[in-house]
Subunit: 345 residues, 4 copies
């Protein structure tokens, strides 16, 4: 009963199969493998973006940090949420890859609002060379709290960025989970509303370790390639990254996996609500925050369940204390496992 | 007939099997997986180094650049060969990861000599704060030209480093090929002669993409972990790196593969010599440089062979011109393929 | 009537005299000049810190950025006020010099409080390698808003830093103005309460462009020297920096100038209060924020006064609108000039 | 008798006078002072370059490192002489300011030759993303060994750069000494032959510490301003930099000083030759290398002369050993002092 994260589940069998298929004879290294051609073709078609340039890397942090570095000058600042992965969970990778740019935290605790974003941008007001210069806006879809921006919400954010002529980066580590939920096309959730660079996640959704960086504006493509190599993120045996992504895109595995993960979370949420558990956020995608009593928390741990919990009073023994618990579902969970978990409530 | 590099062959079946075995249920992310415990145990035993700290990354450039960054201050210079991978083939990754250190090229065209190294170190003489400060010595075993340092040669280089109190980095992308040839233990070819940090290659020898960085001096281990994360080289689904390395170490696959690659090169060299081809270096490991006439080169290309060639007069049509050709063998080549290639001479 | 900043007034005549005195014959370059010996002796005595290492640089940003860089690893975060000079006015210099460290903004709008600081430090909680690591605490005395921390306030902040074993940087661009006000010794306002590195300002207080960086803990002195050179802040004709600082320290010019600046501000504040102007902060040092009506603001501008103003409604013509105005006094202002300014209210 | 360097002499009295003149009342900070307007006007006129953008910094290393940083991407390499100041004497400042670019040392021991430069550029051949990318060519006039490139020599170097579309940086720390010698205009020795950015030295020629960076191509001017601020090289009391440069340019002080320094060196050289001393380089500017016996060297040291000497056998006592001695003259030396020195030969 592992609800800690969607970054630790198994690789999808269809992906393992593609890896096996790819494992014959020689293939040109460093992204010149024929499977990468298929990756490019498929993603350009899926995103209705024939001009887009597409690169694969093996970690989400690499995707974000390289994408941001091509959009940001070292004397600029990136506008993002205080709970953004790029701020909280990348050990200063964006600062490293950009050569020392700053992140400006737009006030808020989950979704960014257009007003807060605009105030933050204005706040980095005109001080000539003295202050940091305004840089890109970075948005996360699905958010780190499991929420999904509607298309309107996203568009209103990118509109603010465009108002100030700032580029837009979308951290889409769970892009598929959001798309599976919203009734829109990949293009509508990206370049059509002004996203310049998209990190299109795969690792949390059934791959072994592959993310695609999609540059809708290909002007910086060569720079991206040099940055990727310089950061040691260009793979010699690249075909094994390509193979994963091909397996992900063929037969819509990416959407099927995301739908399954969302559905698993829905089943979990329904059970939690039936059991009278208080939800702390809207269960949009595959992640839910709930309040559990210390007693229930203890019972689940003893039963072998794993998940992240925030205990406001660790020294207390009061069984009625409420803890904030994060539960994440991936595509591989079975109904039986979810029901077993619910049984301990 | 692919003799371009050992970085583009298939993954060894035993490694694929380990990946499949590892692909069940959940595993703790970021290197906390149980397979990583096995990796550490095995490598500590193989290297007779119980105190060593060991980390996995997915590319050779990452291994080198992170290893050097923990040994080098930004105001220092790294002593290396002019043909070192860290200088020629990493697009300034060492400079990036160290925060702007310099590389000092020790004169020579293949193996570094103790005298040349000492002269280079002395050359970065005492100019107080003005000049770059002396930093680590980086040695490559097998060299980029396919040569293998004897233990005595290695020891005399590390002795020069120690004379000046400088740490030693060993780029061992083909460590196994060297060890398979020299009659010594892994410890004798590393910490026993003064190597502080070893990049122990796997990718060129049957893995999909894994290199181990072995810190014989564990003082900088935590710094290495932070640098790895900050450089986006820490994998969430780390078990798939561990699994490759476990497959590599179990049943001595690393040595079996290297011996096979070396033997394949020996077969190739024997055939070349029988055909009267001029060898340009000593065929120590799995890589050979030869002089081929333009006519033979042309014939091989037309037959579908691929390899790197340096043509001193590209505009010439003289069929007797000699081209410098590099031929690399990996573990997966068959005798039949080698003989087929030789047949075109 | 220039009230814009204390960074634009003339050089004190006693300092000009020292420059002229120093301008004879040759002097050893790069800080080996005899005047630098006097600087070291005097500052060690003034600060009762015989072991301190002391370096001169020519700008306040250089002092701060170099001081922070020797206290901060690139994967750490510096705790500071949202209005700190290092955050707002140095165009990412701290990020550049530290190699990509982050600044964590401790909530507040002027003085930092121990509680807010502690919460911020705790907020960068234990996430292993994933989050930024805790780095130094940076405090500004006099604050950017013209306030002076009492010794007790300062001590309670440094105590929080020490609680978490974090080093303390004091941005003392206006250190003299604070000391002239508080009844304490330089040592009491620095190392005795736990300051590790002090930037001791001179430029805003009568010098042409010199700040001293005082390392009370000399362990990183050599690193500081290398960083200073690498950042191009080591002067060949260093004696002209030394001469300024000698002129500043001899006969207590630094304290006399600061007292004069504070007194000038006091005269200004008294006049403003008599005229019924609303003070927006406590006039502790040589800087005051006041609310002026648009009409008065206009009158002052027309009279040739210069100062920074924040106009909440630039498009408005309402003469009764209140603007926030910052007025800074330096040592060189005359009573007549201040009275002239007050006359326009 | 100080012949160690031209970086340690006094400030010219006309410059001290300008500093005193500038020291009245307030002046706008950060380069907005009216004296800076005069600097710009004069330099544009002197260089016949009305479109040039001009900035002042206080050290030669700052000028070079900032100039190079605006011309170089972090994944590129700068082509320069092995004895270039940017390589030998700046403690990795170019690597720091460029964010980790490399320097490629064009073989040679003083003046760079077009052939060697071309070979070096070709040597950084096309390896796609793997090798460093070709960056600017950096030339030093006067060279670090005291030689002066003729206009033809300079043009043939810049022609090679242009052949490969590479920008050209000229380190002109002793630009005036070269111009005073060659019969050409400032424009002819800079932009007319393809120099993109010139570091126009002042510190070694009578100033306290000011160098002008002249961007003949103003496209990167704003980037330069941001880089200067971020590197902490923008002065608040900028008027004192401007004043020095104004003093330098008015009445051709820069040329008068350089001519005097060259003439002083000529007098020294004549005396050395009369005494039968062996010259090791051509005495083009204000610096000469000679071979002196240990006995003479000893006699000079005892007489209080200071200069740099390279002793090939420090342990020897043989009075006939030849040492390589560098003698540098600045504008301030008197005939009497030079003759006194010669008297000890």
């Amino acid at each position: 009963m592992y609800f800690s994260s969607d970054n630790s589940g198994p690789v999808h069998p269809e992906v393992m199969e593609m890896l096996a298929t790819a494992n014959t004879g020689y293939a040109l290294p460093y992204g010149a493998d024929p499977l990468m051609d298929e990756v490019r073709d498929r993603l350009r078609q899926i995103f209705e973006a024939p001009q887009a340039e597409i690169y694969l890397v093996a970690t989400g942090t690499a995707a974000n940090a390289l994408a941001l570095a091509t959009l940001t000058q070292p004397w600029q600042t990136v506008f993002c949420s205080p709970v953004a992965h790029i701020h909280e969970d990348e050990c200063n990778a964006p600062e490293f890859f950009t050569g020392g740019a700053k992140l400006t935290l737009v006030p808020g605790d989950d979704k960014m609002t257009p007003d807060a974003l605009r105030q933050s941008i204005i706040g980095e007001e005109n001080r000539g060379v003295h202050g940091p210069q305004r840089g890109p806006v970075s948005i996360t879809q699905v958010t780190e709290r499991g929420s999904i921006y509607t298309l309107d919400e996203l568009s209103s954010l990118t509109a603010v960025a465009k108002e100030f002529d700032l580029p837009v980066h979308l951290d889409g580590a769970r892009f598929a989970n959001a798309l599976a939920r919203l009734n829109c096309s990949p293009a509508e959730m990206s370049w059509k509303i002004g996203v310049d660079t998209l990190c299109f996640g795969g690792t949390k959704n059934g791959l072994m370790g592959v993310e695609a960086v999609i540059l809708f504006n290909p002007d910086n493509a060569w720079e991206f390639e040099l940055r990727r190599k310089r950061a040691a993120h260009l793979f010699s045996k690249h075909r094994y990254l390509s193979a994963q992504m091909v397996g992900y895109l063929r037969n819509d595995l990416w959407l099927r996996s995301a739908r399954q993960a969302n559905a698993n979370c829905k089943r979990l949420v329904d059970g939690l609500e039936s059991a009278g558990v208080q939800l702390l956020n809207s269960p949009d995608a595959n992640m839910i925050y709930v309040a559990l009593t210390r007693a229930v928390h203890q019972r689940l741990i003893e039963a072998g369940a794993t998940f992240n919990a925030d205990d406001p009073a660790p020294a207390s023994n009061n069984p009625d204390d409420l803890l904030t618990v994060r539960l994440v579902c991936d595509w591989s969970m079975t109904d039986a496992l979810i029901d077993q978990f619910l049984g301990y409530l």
